[in-house]
Amino acid sequence: MKSTGTAVASVCFAALIAFFVYQWWFNPTRAVQRRLSEIAAALSVPDNEAAVARVARAAQLRKYLAPDIQVRMGPSEIVSRDQIVGAVAAFAPAPGGWNIQFVDVQVRVNHTTNADADAYMTVEVNSHDPRTGQPTVDAREAAATMKKIDGEWVVATAETKDTLQR
């Protein structure tokens, strides 16, 4: 009886471990969320960032974008990964840098292919007012489509959404 109980407990424990391993490493929704967090980190600019570090950050970002990525922010559109990476590498924000976070992220994976996903989120930008130095927060809704290329989730399209429609 005791050995049966131990066996059942062991199986349950193993199943739990397997579940959490799957959730953390193999669940595509979790993988997309993880990739989005990495993108947010790559877009964040630390205070007094050196030029070399900025180029390295841009190179990191490049790995997360599809070659034919389309980004729409209001009326402007960018349709080239090189253009985005170049802009990130050249951009120097106000002193204090900024921190970008994707919050309230909702991911819907196409379970037929497991290689396409839609993501919808709020992009929160924490920075400092250049005049007063006070911390400021700006937030915008955004949507992105992700696709899996060579086993890696990359951004295929991204656009900002107007919460308030004019």
Binding site: V103, D104, V105, Q106, Y120, M121, T122, E124, T136, V137, D138, A139, R140, E141, A142, D162, T163, L164, Q165, R166
Partner: protein, 152 residues
Amino acid sequence: MNRATLIRVVVLIATAYVVFGYVLLPTRLEGISMEPTYTDGRIDFANRLAYVWHPPQRGDVVAIRMAGLHAFYVKRIVGLPRERLEIVMGVVNINGEPLIEPAVVRKAAWNFPPVTLRDDEYFVIGDNRSMRMEDHDFGRTTRDRIVGRMLF
């Protein structure tokens, strides 16, 4: 700590979790678009029970959600469903009649073309109309995006 105190602490924590997690959402206001009513950095709460018994009213200051409940817009309702709204030289007209807005102190000469709101749409604007219209986020939102009314 005796048993009764422990129970009180647990009840207090549980109550605070429910109240501030689901009913009164703590909000820190950022920006100047609601000045002078709300100044930058002010703390308030979005009351999610405000519209359980009646729909949002004109003049209410409401929290409007983005993708979730982490970040809101805080704006004042000026237009209600099915109304026709336009802004002429800073004056909001509702169905052709100028709207009296005591909370708006200064008005720049904003002009916004007529728009007719749908059945579930509200028109919201911040109180600070002295800023450039292009710098001010305002417009139509749907009922399901209105999280609640600001408490104070």
